[in-house]
Amino acid sequence: METLDQIKARAEAANPGARLEIIPNGSPSGQHSILVDNQHAAAVAKFLRDDPLLQFDYASNVAGVDWPDTVLKKVVKVKQVVEGVERELDQTVEEKKPGYLEAVYHLYSMQLRHGPLILRLRTADRAERNHLPSLTSVWRGAEFQEREAFDLYGIVFDGHPDLRRILMWDEFKDYPMRRDYVEPDDYEYEPTAHDDVLEKARKHAESAV
């Protein structure tokens, strides 16, 4: 298989305007991935599938990832005039990083026996602009897995042939795999409560007495 840099260069050359970004993975597995912009995602996916050197004909897995909003605290030196003397003071600045949702595609080539290539798509935010292009038209097997990502993460795949909830019931409103999901409070006694469950048990014990 070509390196990610080679793939990125050729995909960008074949699809004018497409912006690909290599997301490095610092863990021992070193599975770096390619982030594609949403506008050209379908064209790039088609290129990856049909290019004779790549032939990624099999999307083995589609995963959803939730990246919540984060607040970074930075210490910045600020010059201030205090009692007529200019001094440098430390000031903490809170930087808000908006969260986003990701769909991660693991691609393999059955024909050339190589892979995986990890393809990422990223939404603009976690609330309204949670749309991504569907790649079901490129890899038919992605259909149910995109439905699952829609069901559990709330990623809306535009162009999906049948985007309904797949595991939860249709009337369900929440997205249970998101990190800010609050489950219904129906705690009942457990003999070996620990961690979050213990916390819940304490709250219920306080309200019961």
Binding site: L167, M168, W169, D170, E171, F172, K173, D174, P176, Y181, E183, P184, D186, E188, Y189, E190, D196, V197, H204, A205, A208, V209
Partner: protein, 204 residues
């Protein structure tokens, strides 16, 4: 009937019995289970019905694919919140007298998936359960033991008097409300007439 007189008569070659005994003997030896399974416990249930464990010894080998012909519902496996309304509906469609065995950790409490967002914490929240079997999954022997427990329960049911079982009480409910799929959870999350959350006792 007086036990002493009964044994005296049997020594003389006179067999005496009561209608209740014959009736319950017939019922307990022909419990027809409903043919359905929800998860891996169902595989153990199938094994229990096959030759090695041979559920036919208890007269219960006739798994009925229709709830209208079934006496016993074996809830074998994880009951997801999406599946719970269908399980309750199947129970409602069974004719009286009907019995329920909750088989395995999931069916009795939610089991390893208790904290899951999609799993019902025990089918006894919606329908009355006669026998609970723990285990993950319970071995076929455990299911046989549950059958024997249920048979003993049926055998001991008095057909008249205050202690008679619910199916002989006209006012007792035979059907239970089917929960609705709500926006966040099943509505209601349990049937208070059947199940109440266990009370918390503060330790000190």
């Amino acid at each position: 009937m007086d036990e002493g007189l009964k044994s005296e008569l049997s020594k003389q070659g006179v067999f005496t019995t009561t209608f209740e005994q014959v009736y319950n003997w017939g019922r307990k030896n022909s419990i027809w289970p409903l043919n359905f399974g929800l998860a891996c416990c169902a595989i153990e249930m199938i094994a229990a019905a096959m030759a090695r464990w041979d559920l036919a010894r208890f007269g219960a080998e006739v798994f009925r694919p229709s709830p209208r012909q079934a006496d016993l519902m074996i809830v074998a496996g994880t009951v997801t919140k999406k599946m719970a309304p269908q399980v309750v509906r199947l129970y409602n469609q069974m004719p009286e007298p009907k019995y329920v065995i909750a088989m395995g950790a999931c069916a009795i409490s939610g089991g390893p998936f208790k904290q899951g967002y999609n799993v019902l914490k025990g089918i006894d929240r919606y329908i009355p359960v006669d026998v609970h079997i723990p285990g993950c999954p319970p071995r076929p022997e455990a299911l046989l033991h549950a059958f024997m427990t249920l048979q003993r329960k049926i055998d001991e049911q008095a057909l008249t008097g205050e202690q008679r079982p619910p199916f002989l009480v006209a006012e007792a409910p035979s059907e239970f409300p089917v929960p609705k799929c709500g926006a966040h959870d099943l509505e209601p999350p349990n049937n208070p007439a059947v199940w109440q959350p266990p009370g918390l006792v503060k330790a000190d």
